[in-house]
Amino acid sequence: MNNPKTITVAVTGLNNIDSPGPGVSVIRGIKDSELNVRIIGLAYENLEPGIYMPGLVDKTYLIPFPSTGSEAFLSRLAYINEKEDLDLIIPNFDSELYLFIKYSDELLKMGIHTFLPTLDQFEERHKNNLPEYGKKYGIKMPVSQAVLNSKELSNLPKPLSYPYYIKGKFYEAYKVNTINEGVAYFNKLSAKWGLPVVVQQSITGTEVNVIVLGDGEGNTISAVAMRKQYITDKGKAWGGITINDERLIEITHDIVRKTKWRGAMELEMIKTDEGEYHLIEINPRIPAWVYLAVGAGQNIPEMVCRLAMGEKVTALTDYEYGKMFIRYSWDLIGDISDFEKIIIFGEL
Protein backbone atom coordinates (compact mmCIF):
# COMPACT_ATOMS: atom_id res chain seq x y z
CA MET A 1 0.00 0.00 0.00
CA ASN A 2 2.99 2.34 -0.44
CA ASN A 3 2.23 5.54 -2.20
CA PRO A 4 5.29 7.68 -2.84
CA LYS A 5 3.38 10.57 -4.41
CA THR A 6 2.66 13.40 -2.00
CA ILE A 7 -1.04 14.09 -1.73
CA THR A 8 -2.39 17.30 -0.35
CA VAL A 9 -5.30 16.70 2.01
CA ALA A 10 -7.51 19.46 3.40
CA VAL A 11 -9.30 18.69 6.67
CA THR A 12 -11.98 20.63 8.57
CA GLY A 13 -13.05 20.22 12.20
CA LEU A 14 -9.95 21.51 13.98
CA ASN A 15 -11.89 22.67 17.04
CA ASN A 16 -10.39 20.29 19.57
CA ILE A 17 -12.46 21.58 22.50
CA ASP A 18 -14.83 19.94 25.01
CA SER A 19 -17.18 19.09 22.14
CA PRO A 20 -14.37 18.20 19.78
CA GLY A 21 -14.42 18.20 16.01
CA PRO A 22 -12.95 15.09 14.37
CA GLY A 23 -10.27 16.96 12.37
CA VAL A 24 -7.32 16.52 14.73
CA SER A 25 -7.98 12.77 15.10
CA VAL A 26 -8.42 12.41 11.33
CA ILE A 27 -5.06 14.10 10.72
CA ARG A 28 -3.35 11.91 13.35
CA GLY A 29 -4.68 8.82 11.57
CA ILE A 30 -3.46 10.02 8.17
CA LYS A 31 -0.05 10.88 9.60
CA ASP A 32 0.23 7.42 11.20
CA SER A 33 -0.21 5.82 7.77
CA GLU A 34 2.27 5.26 4.97
CA LEU A 35 0.67 7.98 2.91
CA ASN A 36 2.95 10.81 1.94
CA VAL A 37 0.83 13.85 2.75
CA ARG A 38 0.73 17.56 3.09
CA ILE A 39 -2.06 18.59 5.46
CA ILE A 40 -4.06 21.77 4.94
CA GLY A 41 -6.29 22.77 7.85
CA LEU A 42 -9.59 24.47 7.05
CA ALA A 43 -10.87 26.41 10.07
CA TYR A 44 -14.03 28.40 10.70
CA GLU A 45 -12.80 30.25 13.75
CA ASN A 46 -9.44 31.78 14.55
CA LEU A 47 -8.99 30.00 17.89
CA GLU A 48 -9.54 26.42 16.73
CA PRO A 49 -6.73 24.57 18.56
CA GLY A 50 -5.76 22.45 15.54
CA ILE A 51 -4.46 25.59 13.81
CA TYR A 52 -1.80 26.02 16.47
CA MET A 53 -0.90 22.43 17.41
CA PRO A 54 2.78 21.86 16.58
CA GLY A 55 3.38 19.44 13.71
CA LEU A 56 -0.29 18.89 12.95
CA VAL A 57 -1.07 20.97 9.87
CA ASP A 58 1.32 22.35 7.27
CA LYS A 59 -0.87 25.37 6.62
CA THR A 60 -4.30 26.56 7.73
CA TYR A 61 -6.86 28.72 5.96
CA LEU A 62 -9.99 30.24 7.41
CA ILE A 63 -13.11 29.38 5.41
CA PRO A 64 -16.55 31.01 5.56
CA PHE A 65 -19.33 29.37 7.59
CA PRO A 66 -21.67 27.25 5.44
CA SER A 67 -24.51 29.67 6.23
CA THR A 68 -22.63 32.36 4.26
CA GLY A 69 -23.71 30.58 1.08
CA SER A 70 -22.26 28.48 -1.69
CA GLU A 71 -20.67 31.32 -3.68
CA ALA A 72 -18.36 32.44 -0.86
CA PHE A 73 -17.64 28.80 -0.01
CA LEU A 74 -16.63 27.81 -3.55
CA SER A 75 -14.71 31.00 -4.14
CA ARG A 76 -12.64 30.49 -0.97
CA LEU A 77 -11.94 26.84 -1.83
CA ALA A 78 -10.88 27.88 -5.35
CA TYR A 79 -8.44 30.40 -3.83
CA ILE A 80 -7.01 27.79 -1.44
CA ASN A 81 -6.76 25.26 -4.27
CA GLU A 82 -4.89 27.76 -6.41
CA LYS A 83 -2.33 28.13 -3.63
CA GLU A 84 -2.13 24.52 -2.47
CA ASP A 85 -3.23 22.30 -5.36
CA LEU A 86 -5.48 20.17 -3.17
CA ASP A 87 -5.97 16.49 -3.97
CA LEU A 88 -8.80 15.85 -1.55
CA ILE A 89 -10.91 17.32 1.22
CA ILE A 90 -12.24 15.48 4.27
CA PRO A 91 -15.10 17.57 5.72
CA ASN A 92 -15.93 16.68 9.33
CA PHE A 93 -18.96 18.75 10.35
CA ASP A 94 -22.59 17.77 9.80
CA SER A 95 -23.47 21.39 9.04
CA GLU A 96 -20.97 21.71 6.16
CA LEU A 97 -21.59 18.33 4.54
CA TYR A 98 -24.55 19.46 2.45
CA LEU A 99 -22.38 21.99 0.60
CA PHE A 100 -19.48 19.59 0.13
CA ILE A 101 -21.80 16.88 -1.22
CA LYS A 102 -23.82 19.24 -3.42
CA TYR A 103 -20.72 20.74 -4.99
CA SER A 104 -18.59 17.59 -5.10
CA ASP A 105 -18.66 17.61 -8.93
CA GLU A 106 -17.46 21.24 -9.02
CA LEU A 107 -14.72 20.32 -6.55
CA LEU A 108 -13.70 17.37 -8.70
CA LYS A 109 -13.45 19.68 -11.72
CA MET A 110 -10.93 21.66 -9.64
CA GLY A 111 -9.07 18.38 -9.05
CA ILE A 112 -10.33 17.99 -5.47
CA HIS A 113 -11.61 14.52 -4.55
CA THR A 114 -14.03 13.67 -1.75
CA PHE A 115 -15.47 10.42 -0.46
CA LEU A 116 -18.92 11.32 0.76
CA PRO A 117 -22.46 9.91 0.75
CA THR A 118 -24.83 10.93 -2.02
CA LEU A 119 -27.23 13.78 -1.32
CA ASP A 120 -30.11 11.25 -1.08
CA GLN A 121 -28.19 9.12 1.42
CA PHE A 122 -27.32 12.23 3.42
CA GLU A 123 -30.87 13.60 3.46
CA GLU A 124 -32.78 10.41 4.23
CA ARG A 125 -30.91 9.72 7.50
CA HIS A 126 -31.71 13.11 9.04
CA LYS A 127 -33.03 12.87 12.60
CA ASN A 128 -36.49 14.01 11.48
CA ASN A 129 -36.60 11.24 8.84
CA LEU A 130 -35.49 8.37 11.07
CA PRO A 131 -38.90 6.64 11.44
CA GLU A 132 -39.22 6.35 7.62
CA TYR A 133 -35.58 5.32 7.40
CA GLY A 134 -36.18 2.54 9.93
CA LYS A 135 -39.21 1.26 8.00
CA LYS A 136 -37.42 1.39 4.66
CA TYR A 137 -34.36 -0.53 5.80
CA GLY A 138 -35.89 -2.73 8.52
CA ILE A 139 -34.00 -1.16 11.42
CA LYS A 140 -35.45 -0.88 14.95
CA MET A 141 -35.67 2.72 16.07
CA PRO A 142 -37.28 4.52 19.00
CA VAL A 143 -40.51 6.34 18.19
CA SER A 144 -39.73 9.92 17.24
CA GLN A 145 -41.46 13.03 15.99
CA ALA A 146 -40.20 16.16 14.25
CA VAL A 147 -41.54 19.25 16.02
CA LEU A 148 -41.83 22.72 14.48
CA ASN A 149 -43.60 24.53 17.31
CA SER A 150 -43.25 24.19 21.10
CA LYS A 151 -47.06 23.92 21.39
CA GLU A 152 -46.82 20.49 19.72
CA LEU A 153 -44.92 19.21 22.78
CA SER A 154 -48.09 19.18 24.89
CA ASN A 155 -49.83 16.97 22.35
CA LEU A 156 -47.24 14.44 21.19
CA PRO A 157 -48.63 11.40 19.38
CA LYS A 158 -48.78 8.13 21.35
CA PRO A 159 -46.81 6.12 22.30
CA LEU A 160 -44.34 8.97 22.90
CA SER A 161 -44.13 9.61 26.63
CA TYR A 162 -41.76 10.86 29.32
CA PRO A 163 -38.87 10.56 29.54
CA TYR A 164 -37.91 11.44 26.00
CA TYR A 165 -34.94 13.10 24.35
CA ILE A 166 -35.24 16.39 22.55
CA LYS A 167 -32.58 16.85 19.88
CA GLY A 168 -31.23 19.74 17.85
CA LYS A 169 -31.23 19.51 14.06
CA PHE A 170 -27.46 18.99 13.94
CA TYR A 171 -26.17 18.66 17.49
CA GLU A 172 -27.16 18.47 21.18
CA ALA A 173 -29.75 16.39 22.97
CA TYR A 174 -31.43 16.69 26.36
CA LYS A 175 -33.51 14.25 28.40
CA VAL A 176 -36.96 15.65 29.14
CA ASN A 177 -39.24 14.69 32.05
CA THR A 178 -41.76 17.56 32.08
CA ILE A 179 -43.48 19.85 29.60
CA ASN A 180 -41.64 22.89 31.03
CA GLU A 181 -38.28 21.24 30.43
CA GLY A 182 -39.40 20.31 26.93
CA VAL A 183 -40.41 23.87 26.01
CA ALA A 184 -37.21 25.36 27.46
CA TYR A 185 -35.00 22.96 25.52
CA PHE A 186 -37.09 23.38 22.36
CA ASN A 187 -36.46 27.15 22.48
CA LYS A 188 -32.76 26.67 23.13
CA LEU A 189 -32.24 24.07 20.38
CA SER A 190 -34.37 25.77 17.73
CA ALA A 191 -32.58 29.09 18.33
CA LYS A 192 -29.16 27.44 18.00
CA TRP A 193 -29.65 24.84 15.27
CA GLY A 194 -32.90 25.77 13.52
CA LEU A 195 -36.00 23.67 12.86
CA PRO A 196 -37.20 21.01 13.15
CA VAL A 197 -36.37 19.90 16.66
CA VAL A 198 -36.77 16.15 17.12
CA VAL A 199 -38.43 14.37 20.03
CA GLN A 200 -37.28 10.77 20.46
CA GLN A 201 -38.55 8.22 22.98
CA SER A 202 -35.94 7.34 25.62
CA ILE A 203 -34.93 3.68 25.52
CA THR A 204 -33.42 2.03 28.59
CA GLY A 205 -30.15 0.28 27.90
CA THR A 206 -26.48 0.80 27.14
CA GLU A 207 -25.34 3.13 24.36
CA VAL A 208 -22.98 1.48 21.90
CA ASN A 209 -21.46 3.19 18.87
CA VAL A 210 -19.94 1.96 15.64
CA ILE A 211 -17.65 3.84 13.28
CA VAL A 212 -18.21 2.56 9.76
CA LEU A 213 -16.77 3.06 6.31
CA GLY A 214 -18.86 2.00 3.33
CA ASP A 215 -17.58 1.81 -0.25
CA GLY A 216 -20.83 3.01 -1.85
CA GLU A 217 -21.55 -0.40 -3.34
CA GLY A 218 -22.90 -2.04 -0.20
CA ASN A 219 -19.60 -3.28 1.19
CA THR A 220 -18.36 -2.44 4.67
CA ILE A 221 -14.68 -1.58 4.39
CA SER A 222 -14.23 -0.94 8.09
CA ALA A 223 -16.33 -1.14 11.28
CA VAL A 224 -15.21 -0.74 14.87
CA ALA A 225 -17.60 -0.86 17.86
CA MET A 226 -17.10 1.19 21.00
CA ARG A 227 -18.81 1.76 24.34
CA LYS A 228 -18.46 5.16 25.97
CA GLN A 229 -16.90 4.89 29.41
CA TYR A 230 -16.93 8.54 30.41
CA ILE A 231 -19.47 11.01 29.09
CA THR A 232 -19.27 14.79 29.49
CA ASP A 233 -22.20 17.03 30.39
CA LYS A 234 -22.48 17.68 26.63
CA GLY A 235 -22.97 13.97 26.04
CA LYS A 236 -19.57 13.59 24.40
CA ALA A 237 -17.35 10.57 24.97
CA TRP A 238 -14.30 11.53 27.05
CA GLY A 239 -13.25 7.91 27.33
CA GLY A 240 -14.28 4.78 25.47
CA ILE A 241 -13.32 1.19 24.83
CA THR A 242 -13.52 -1.05 21.77
CA ILE A 243 -15.87 -4.00 22.20
CA ASN A 244 -16.47 -7.32 20.51
CA ASP A 245 -20.19 -7.17 19.83
CA GLU A 246 -20.80 -9.50 16.89
CA ARG A 247 -24.53 -8.74 16.60
CA LEU A 248 -23.84 -5.01 16.48
CA ILE A 249 -21.30 -5.48 13.69
CA GLU A 250 -23.78 -7.72 11.81
CA ILE A 251 -26.45 -5.00 12.03
CA THR A 252 -23.89 -2.46 10.82
CA HIS A 253 -22.96 -4.57 7.76
CA ASP A 254 -26.66 -5.03 7.04
CA ILE A 255 -27.30 -1.26 7.12
CA VAL A 256 -24.36 -0.58 4.79
CA ARG A 257 -25.47 -3.36 2.45
CA LYS A 258 -29.04 -2.02 2.25
CA THR A 259 -28.21 1.68 2.06
CA LYS A 260 -25.03 1.36 -0.06
CA TRP A 261 -23.55 4.06 2.17
CA ARG A 262 -20.55 5.81 0.68
CA GLY A 263 -18.03 7.25 3.10
CA ALA A 264 -17.64 7.19 6.85
CA MET A 265 -20.43 7.42 9.40
CA GLU A 266 -21.17 6.75 13.04
CA LEU A 267 -24.12 4.65 14.17
CA GLU A 268 -25.38 5.36 17.67
CA MET A 269 -27.43 2.53 19.15
CA ILE A 270 -29.00 1.52 22.43
CA LYS A 271 -28.65 -2.13 23.42
CA THR A 272 -31.44 -3.13 25.79
CA ASP A 273 -31.14 -5.70 28.58
CA GLU A 274 -33.08 -8.06 26.30
CA GLY A 275 -30.31 -7.77 23.70
CA GLU A 276 -32.29 -5.67 21.21
CA TYR A 277 -30.56 -2.87 19.31
CA HIS A 278 -32.31 0.43 18.60
CA LEU A 279 -30.69 2.92 16.24
CA ILE A 280 -30.95 6.39 17.80
CA GLU A 281 -28.82 8.42 15.42
CA ILE A 282 -26.66 8.32 12.30
CA ASN A 283 -23.84 10.84 12.08
CA PRO A 284 -22.94 11.04 8.39
CA ARG A 285 -19.21 11.62 8.88
CA ILE A 286 -16.15 10.46 10.77
CA PRO A 287 -16.74 10.83 14.55
CA ALA A 288 -14.22 12.55 16.85
CA TRP A 289 -13.25 9.21 18.44
CA VAL A 290 -11.88 7.86 15.13
CA TYR A 291 -8.35 7.67 16.51
CA LEU A 292 -9.52 4.82 18.77
CA ALA A 293 -10.33 2.83 15.62
CA VAL A 294 -6.84 3.65 14.31
CA GLY A 295 -5.34 2.43 17.60
CA ALA A 296 -7.42 -0.74 17.41
CA GLY A 297 -6.08 -1.56 13.94
CA GLN A 298 -8.40 0.08 11.41
CA ASN A 299 -7.05 3.35 10.03
CA ILE A 300 -10.27 4.82 8.65
CA PRO A 301 -8.83 8.27 7.76
CA GLU A 302 -6.14 6.56 5.66
CA MET A 303 -8.74 4.37 3.94
CA VAL A 304 -10.93 7.41 3.21
CA CYS A 305 -7.94 9.09 1.53
CA ARG A 306 -7.18 6.01 -0.56
CA LEU A 307 -10.81 5.48 -1.60
CA ALA A 308 -11.20 9.17 -2.48
CA MET A 309 -8.12 8.95 -4.70
CA GLY A 310 -9.61 5.95 -6.49
CA GLU A 311 -7.46 3.23 -4.93
CA LYS A 312 -8.87 -0.20 -4.22
CA VAL A 313 -8.98 -0.81 -0.47
CA THR A 314 -9.25 -4.24 1.14
CA ALA A 315 -12.07 -4.54 3.68
CA LEU A 316 -10.93 -5.06 7.27
CA THR A 317 -12.84 -7.28 9.68
CA ASP A 318 -10.52 -7.62 12.67
CA TYR A 319 -9.62 -5.11 15.32
CA GLU A 320 -8.36 -5.27 18.89
CA TYR A 321 -10.97 -5.39 21.65
CA GLY A 322 -10.27 -3.62 24.93
CA LYS A 323 -8.42 -0.70 23.34
CA MET A 324 -9.26 2.48 25.22
CA PHE A 325 -9.09 6.19 24.60
CA ILE A 326 -9.06 8.88 27.25
CA ARG A 327 -9.22 12.51 26.15
CA TYR A 328 -7.31 15.23 27.92
CA SER A 329 -6.91 18.95 27.69
CA TRP A 330 -3.51 20.55 27.19
CA ASP A 331 -2.58 24.20 27.25
CA LEU A 332 -0.67 25.23 24.15
CA ILE A 333 1.50 28.30 24.37
CA GLY A 334 1.24 30.32 21.19
CA ASP A 335 2.54 33.60 19.91
CA ILE A 336 0.43 36.63 19.15
CA SER A 337 2.09 36.86 15.72
CA ASP A 338 0.44 33.57 14.69
CA PHE A 339 -2.92 34.81 15.88
CA GLU A 340 -2.31 38.05 13.98
CA LYS A 341 -1.72 36.15 10.73
CA ILE A 342 -4.98 34.28 11.07
CA ILE A 343 -6.89 37.45 11.92
CA ILE A 344 -5.36 39.67 9.23
CA PHE A 345 -4.68 37.24 6.38
CA GLY A 346 -7.03 34.32 7.19
CA GLU A 347 -4.17 31.87 6.86
CA LEU A 348 -1.24 30.59 8.86
Binding site: T206, M226, R227, Q229, G240, I241, T242, I243, N244, D245, E246, Y321, G322
Partner: protein
Protein backbone atom coordinates in the same frame (compact mmCIF):
# COMPACT_ATOMS: atom_id res chain seq x y z
CA UNK B 1 -17.32 -20.03 22.86
CA UNK B 2 -19.05 -20.02 26.27
CA UNK B 3 -19.62 -16.66 27.90
CA UNK B 4 -17.08 -17.50 30.60
CA UNK B 5 -14.39 -18.40 28.10
CA UNK B 6 -14.88 -15.12 26.23
CA UNK B 7 -13.82 -13.15 29.32
CA UNK B 8 -10.30 -11.79 29.68
CA UNK B 9 -9.25 -12.50 33.28
CA UNK B 10 -5.91 -11.46 34.78
CA UNK B 11 -4.17 -13.12 37.73
CA UNK B 12 -4.78 -9.89 39.66
CA UNK B 13 -8.53 -10.49 39.55
CA UNK B 14 -9.36 -7.98 36.79
CA UNK B 15 -12.13 -9.23 34.49
CA UNK B 16 -12.78 -7.63 31.08
CA UNK B 17 -15.93 -8.49 29.18
CA UNK B 18 -15.13 -7.79 25.49
CA UNK B 19 -18.75 -8.00 24.30
CA UNK B 20 -19.79 -4.96 26.34
CA UNK B 21 -16.54 -3.27 27.37
CA UNK B 22 -17.43 -3.68 31.06
CA UNK B 23 -14.77 -4.51 33.63
CA UNK B 24 -15.02 -6.04 37.10
CA UNK B 25 -12.68 -6.97 39.93
CA UNK B 26 -12.80 -10.18 41.88
CA UNK B 27 -11.05 -11.65 44.93
CA UNK B 28 -9.01 -14.84 45.17
CA UNK B 29 -12.04 -17.06 45.85
CA UNK B 30 -13.81 -15.57 42.81
CA UNK B 31 -10.78 -16.29 40.63
CA UNK B 32 -10.68 -19.92 41.81
CA UNK B 33 -14.42 -20.31 41.17
CA UNK B 34 -14.13 -18.88 37.63
CA UNK B 35 -11.13 -21.05 36.75
CA UNK B 36 -12.84 -24.21 38.05
CA UNK B 37 -16.05 -23.35 36.21
CA UNK B 38 -14.03 -23.01 33.01
CA UNK B 39 -12.71 -26.53 33.69
CA UNK B 40 -16.37 -27.61 34.04
CA UNK B 41 -15.94 -28.77 37.64
CA UNK B 42 -19.06 -29.58 39.67
CA UNK B 43 -20.31 -27.46 42.57
CA UNK B 44 -19.08 -30.06 45.10
CA UNK B 45 -15.63 -30.12 43.54
CA UNK B 46 -15.44 -26.31 43.68
CA UNK B 47 -16.58 -26.24 47.30
CA UNK B 48 -13.96 -28.87 48.23
CA UNK B 49 -11.25 -26.84 46.52
CA UNK B 50 -12.29 -23.66 48.36
CA UNK B 51 -12.21 -25.44 51.74
CA UNK B 52 -8.76 -26.85 50.91
CA UNK B 53 -7.31 -23.49 49.91
CA UNK B 54 -8.93 -21.24 52.52
CA UNK B 55 -9.72 -21.48 56.21
CA UNK B 56 -13.45 -21.84 55.60
CA UNK B 57 -16.08 -24.55 56.22
CA UNK B 58 -18.12 -26.23 53.47
CA UNK B 59 -21.36 -24.37 54.33
CA UNK B 60 -19.67 -20.96 54.02
CA UNK B 61 -17.85 -22.08 50.86
CA UNK B 62 -21.17 -23.21 49.34
CA UNK B 63 -22.78 -19.87 50.21
CA UNK B 64 -19.86 -18.01 48.62
CA UNK B 65 -20.09 -20.18 45.51
CA UNK B 66 -23.83 -19.66 44.95
CA UNK B 67 -23.61 -15.92 45.64
CA UNK B 68 -20.81 -15.73 43.09
CA UNK B 69 -22.77 -17.77 40.54
CA UNK B 70 -25.69 -15.32 40.99
CA UNK B 71 -23.32 -12.41 40.34
CA UNK B 72 -21.90 -14.04 37.19
CA UNK B 73 -25.40 -14.75 35.84
CA UNK B 74 -26.68 -11.27 36.73
CA UNK B 75 -23.80 -9.73 34.78
CA UNK B 76 -24.41 -12.14 31.90
CA UNK B 77 -20.98 -13.73 32.24
CA UNK B 78 -22.41 -17.21 32.75
CA UNK B 79 -25.08 -19.04 30.72
Amino acid sequence: MSKLNSLAISDNGFIFKPSTGESFTTNEIGLIIINLLKEEKSADEIINKITEEFDIDAISAGRDLYEYLDFLKREKMLD
